[in-house]
């Protein structure tokens, strides 16, 4: 028994849309993750700088 051409076509298009959305979601998730990581890294650097400068200032 073989699948009907309509089913194959609709399955391809539906899975294509799903995969496309998945790819975009992956890109967005990575960009957000990276932005947060950069922010945290910046905060860590600031803290380190403050701690390093602390004794000299005090």
């Amino acid at each position: 028994m073989s699948a009907s051409p309509l089913f194959v076509t609709e399955a391809y298009i539906a899975s294509g849309l799903a995969l496309g959305l998945l790819v975009f979601a992956l890109g967005a998730a990575l960009a957000i993750y990276q932005r947060r990581t950069l922010g945290l890294r910046q905060q860590l650097d600031d803290c380190r700088r403050q701690l390093g400068a602390g004794p000299a200032d005090g």
Binding site: V8, T9, G16, G20, Y33, R35
Partner: protein, 218 residues
């Protein structure tokens, strides 16, 4: 035979990253230069498909020539974006192992009158895995904003391109036996997705050149 505008647009849009790369060709990183070659090969292949389709009515055999060459160039591009020597070596080994294997399977098992229902998914799946791996591994290790990185946009576009390409060969072969109107719908959908994918890759080609890379190509 006339082709819908989407198919022409999908063929032409492959030249957009080339135009983007030519805007600052001086000091262009090696990976982007090789990527330009891949885009050119893709566009040339489509022109050849069109010419052979119109003249001889048979162009599927061209796939046996164009696909391995395009895959090899793209594995090379992705290898240039790897951070670790191990993954770089792996991508290059894929050229040596996968491409001859696909050629043998294509010639002996698949034949020249096929949409690549057997070899197509193998190559496209390998390239999808390589693109997604590059996207994720570079993103996690990056210390700059991702939207400023060429590999981010290009591997994102490639992931979209190959995600939809994996099943195209078997689906096309299944639909070829029945109503070709359905096959046309599938090809038009893929063409629209390809346009989007190449627009993403063009954004990558327009990204500012990293200062260290513009002086010393990778």
């Amino acid at each position: 035979m006339t082709y819908p505008w989407e198919l022409h647009a999908a063929a032409l849009v492959q030249l957009l990253p080339v135009v983007g790369g030519l805007l600052h060709i001086r000091g262009l990183p090696t990976a982007r230069r090789w990527f330009i070659l891949w885009c050119l090969l893709s566009a040339i292949a489509d022109v050849a498909y069109l010419i052979f389709g119109q003249v001889t009515g048979q162009n599927l055999w061209l796939r046996l020539v164009t696909e391995p060459v395009r895959a090899a160039v793209l594995f090379w591009v992705l290898s240039l974006w790897q951070l670790s020597p191990h993954s770089r070596r792996l991508m290059r080994q894929a050229i040596v192992i996968l491409i001859p294997a696909v050629l043998v399977i294509g010639l002996l098992w698949e034949g020249s009158l096929s949409f690549g229902d057997k070899t197509g998914p193998i190559v496209q799946l390998a390239l999808l895995a390589a693109s997604v791996y590059t996207l994720v591994s570079r993103s996690v290790a990056s210390s700059d904003r991702l939207t400023r990185e060429d590999w981010f946009w290009i591997t994102l576009g490639l992931s979209l391109y190959f995600a939809l390409g994996v099943a195209l060969g078997p689906v096309a072969m299944a639909l070829l036996q029945g109503n070709t109107e359905f096959l046309k719908q599938v090809l038009l959908f893929k063409a629209r997705a390809d346009i989007l994918a190449f627009v993403l890759m063009t954004i990558g080609m327009l990204c500012p050149l990293p200062r260290s890379l513009s002086l010393k190509p990778t």
